[in-house]
């Protein structure tokens, strides 16, 4: 075989392999949209499940996930952004920075069910929170911490050094420089990271299994020490544990979850591309 023919064949095979990856991705999404759409209506989104979950809607699960995500972000955002500011603006290139980097890499690799175990053992039992929104939010918060720290750090890194130098030259202190000169330019990047973190927290099931998720709880939680239903866990029990749930309800629930999580990711991608295009 000639050199050119060999190259052509290799490139064609690579193209085919790449297209083959597109098919299941698009397939899964289209399939869920088509099968789930008929279930979506106002009462599905605003009513609690009824009649052993075979009728009614998924309102408490939507609200539960919303509360859970808010709690998670309220904890993870200040922690993660603070950590990233320290690493990028204060720590220099010290050995500690390398150590923190290793910790983040490994934290990102801890299986989600192990976060669930830790959340159960520590937040639910040792700290005595019981299965509650606060225990679930804390568990999800430490899980998304690596995402927030990494993206924030990258955003801070992309702020030109001249901004810092100009601010310091005007007599601003280190913190004034960070707050007034660095953070505003890094905001889009931080928002992107936050949204990605929210998407991750909203879609995870294993960490909330034993820390917050309620099988059936038609009322909306009133305090952070209440249990709550959540969309991913609700889909899990509809599919595996509750008998006689109509297919339509399962696909409808999957569609709502998918829309929420994929939608958040699309927003993050949009913000990222828009900031990249805007050059300094």
């Amino acid at each position: 075989m000639t050199k050119a023919a060999k190259e052509k064949l290799a490139f064609q095979l690579l193209t085919i392999a790449s297209v083959m990856v597109l098919i299941p991705t698009v397939g899964i999404i289209v399939y869920i949209v088509i099968k789930g759409l008929p279930a979506i209506n106002w009462s599905f989104l605003t009513e609690p499940p009824r009649n052993m979950m075979t009728e009614g809607g998924i309102y408490p699960a939507i609200m539960g996930t919303l509360y859970l995500v808010l709690g998670t972000i309220a904890i993870a955002l200040p922690l993660g952004v603070g950590a990233a500011i320290y690493l990028n603006e204060y720590a220099g290139t010290s050995r500690m920075r390398r150590l923190v980097h290793l910790a983040i890499v490994n934290l990102a690799g801890v299986p989600s069910v192990v976060y669930g175990l830790f959340g159960l053992g520590f937040f639910v039992i040792v700290l005595g929170f019981g299965r509650s929104l606060i225990a679930g939010s804390l568990t999800l918060a430490i899980m998304i911490l690596p995402v927030i720290i990494t993206t924030t750090e990258e955003a801070l890194k992309s702020v030109p050094n001249s901004y810092r130098e100009a601010s310091l030259a005007l007599g601003a202190t280190k913190w004034q420089t960070v707050r007034n000169a660095v953070l505003p330019s890094a905001t889009p990047g931080i928002i992107t990271g936050t949204i990605l973190g929210i998407g991750r927290a909203a879609g995870e099931t294993a960490p909330i299994l034993f820390t917050v998720a309620a099988f059936y709880l038609p009322s909306i939680p009133k305090s952070i020490f209440d249990q709550a239903m959540a969309l991913p866990y609700h889909l899990y029990i509809l599919v595996t544990e509750v008998p006689n749930v109509p297919e339509e309800t399962k696909f409808g629930t999957a569609l709502v979850l998918l829309t929420l999580v994929v939608g958040l990711n699309l927003v993050a991608v949009l913000i990222r591309t828009r900031t990249r295009r805007r050059s300094y």
Partner: protein, 288 residues
Amino acid sequence: MKNYKDWIIEKILLVLGISSIVVLAMIFLFLLKDGLQFFSVVSLKDFLTGDTWLPTSKPASFGILPLLVGSFAVTLVALTIAVPFGLALAIYLGEIASSRTKEILKPTVELLAAIPSVVYGFIGITVIAPAVKSFFNISSGFTLFTGGLILALMALPTIVSIAEDALHAVPGSYKEASLALGASSWETIVHVILPAAKSGLIAAIMLGMGRVIGETMTVLMVTGNAPIIPGSIFESGRTMTATIAAEMGETVHGSTHYYSLFGIGLVLFTITFAINFTADYFVQRQRG
């Protein structure tokens, strides 16, 4: 006064800065504490090499060999599929695709990473398991193979994005030199770019592996969950992650069964820690 405030803020940020170290250490120590409770009852050797997992029968048996086999079987299946496709996609994206194709393909792969694992599990139950059943003509579609097949999709985004970074990091001068010597683009990819990116590609595969071993909901939903050593990948099996998720809800706090699940958690944590630690070494080496 201004400096005093700055000093306080710096100290607060320092505390936040080391939070990730503290959290990681706490997770490890916590698993270790509860894991050791368990190993005072059942020896580590019996735990790792025992071939029967019957935590609720009398007498109970806590051998996790079937679960280790389950985890490694799905990982093997997933990587066998995801590594060639992942590397192909990374090469295509990095070296061949036009920028317009890239703009469509890259977000699509990222989308794969965004789909929640419980949704993959749902699709696994409704579509993929029945398809596997009829395609291979077996009595049940809920097999280790089915789990591995779906996990391959879930590992792809990790493998593709890190492998593409590695290819991207190869200096352009390498490529130019090879092309100038008369090598074709394909020869340049095979003999110059891939060898130069080797460390990063290894890291990509390892991180994909970490992702697969740690995945919980999908395997819990589609592998059939029989905690026995399977005869082949076309039989039912159960992973370590699925065991924790399936049994934790039923255990009594403080029982041997409860602590045994922390023992499994400790094993999982150790495996993923080793994988990520090594992968990071390769990533750093790639950066030089």
